[in-house]
Symmetry: D3
Subunit: 113 residues, 6 copies
């Protein structure tokens, strides 16, 4: 029962594409928000992506954990930085954050190969 994070990510992308087609205005609005958040003025984008990952872990959103882990890898996050990120999520999210944090680490290992 090892999860296939690549397949989870691909299926999710396909569904998001369909939602973009069906509801372009709201999805374009959300893209504006994402671009604003991921073009930080004082921090760097690797840091803001890991912040988004920390939040996703606490939100117990598997799809978001997969997405923001993949983005963190793209922006050069190291395994040690991901572990620091998971630690903050556990501080703020307790037991459930250990579950979704372990998912983030496994996804990191899958995406960084």
């Amino acid at each position: 029962m090892t999860k296939d994070y690549h397949a989870i990510s691909d299926a999710q992308d396909a569904r998001a594409t369909e939602l973009f087609r069906a509801a372009p205005d709201i999805m374009r609005g959300h893209r504006n928000v994402t671009q604003a958040a991921q073009s930080p003025a004082a921090l760097d984008v690797k840091t803001t992506e890991m912040m988004a990952l920390a939040i996703a872990i606490v939100q117990r959103c598997e799809g978001c954990v997969v997405y923001h882990t993949k983005q963190s890898v793209t922006h050069g996050a190291s395994r040690e930085e991901i572990c620091d990120t998971i630690a903050v999520a556990i501080e703020m999210g307790g037991g459930p954050a250990t579950v979704y944090g372990a998912d983030a680490l496994a996804a990191f290992d899958a995406f960084s190969k």
Copy 2:
């Protein structure tokens, strides 16, 4: 990895039936709540079902998204109305609502065939 929303729905119904058998008082109480919520005085039931769907998306509850999408279809919701519902969920729920909203749209397409 396309999700089989019919199978998710059926498995969930089976588990709910077993819970009803094991804990009838609380489940009867919950049914009273559901019936009160889904017998609106001033709105129509299609609207209140879509409201429940909007909430389910924000709650990141896959089973609830499947259930209330199916109910919305039963009460005649159109694809465009589901998209409007998803948009409000994204306004209130941010990134995770795009993930579960995309699920709602895919479930709608499965149930409305």
Copy 3:
């Protein structure tokens, strides 16, 4: 200890204005999202505002309850429609939704005077 919903709303607006000044890009992005969600294609805006209120109640966000109750009043929601909205929130949110739902009703009474 009756709450002063007008004062809560005003203080909140002042803080939001300051955030808009300090972080215009993200707030403009969020405004795009809000405008997309509150310009529905198939539903009407009174309905989508009440959907946002239903979500706010379940999210246990007092400031959001106040804001979206006020918006619902502006778009012509009746007291009976607000009660239908609260009912769906209770269906999906249980006990805490009775607490924040009662707040929504009290805020409605304050704003609709």
Copy 4:
């Protein structure tokens, strides 16, 4: 800035009474749920009230923390039992549960005088 838990509780009761008047069907449904949950078959009601309190702490719902602390006192919960309850909430809810757990303890001290 010590909180007046009695006043919070009274104001909340007044708002709930008004909601009951305005929306009796949903509130009667919710009362059925509460009665089923608080008439356990195998546990005792003091335990189920403290369970509700543990959940309320994790939900970060101040009004619910106040309500279920008061109910726990009514059903004979000791200060030590409340602390055990808060501990489980911290296990599952992390940092925010220390904030709302500290509120539960202060409310307990107010209501058990």
Copy 5:
């Protein structure tokens, strides 16, 4: 589509073990929290495990529901006590708690065989 709760539990344990290896300090800290919560002073550990389960249901965390159901079985919880626990979760969590509560009951049946 019946869920294999043993397989879910095993896969989760494997991921948690890897997280422990990669981030021992935070996981040791979390273990301290868990041990404190599950060594109650006035309640018994079966009760605090069921409290954790009640919270997990309301949090809509499948992995946590599986874990704390298994722990509740280990500490001698009966099917009737699990149903009482689910009832409190439904009181506090509404509709989504019926979904994750039904999961808890199915997991109980799997682990108590």
Copy 6:
């Protein structure tokens, strides 16, 4: 109705001190977690404090927003960095994150004077 963030912080500290006295084991466990999270291996502590703040905003926990804003100030966070942090919270948390994000900015201004 401007909030007095210093007073909120002081009252909260007093309640936390009392919880520490009443339930030292769980609070010591939580302190271990916090120390592990706030002694990052690869990131710096200013970053992990802002991560905790981003999570707190999404969790809609006023007390946590106040606490982690204060900690961020202590570790040298600039107003621009706080705005970047709020932006990520809005990306992941939608409308409610604008409410609690505006609170974070106001608290920053209070604590950094």
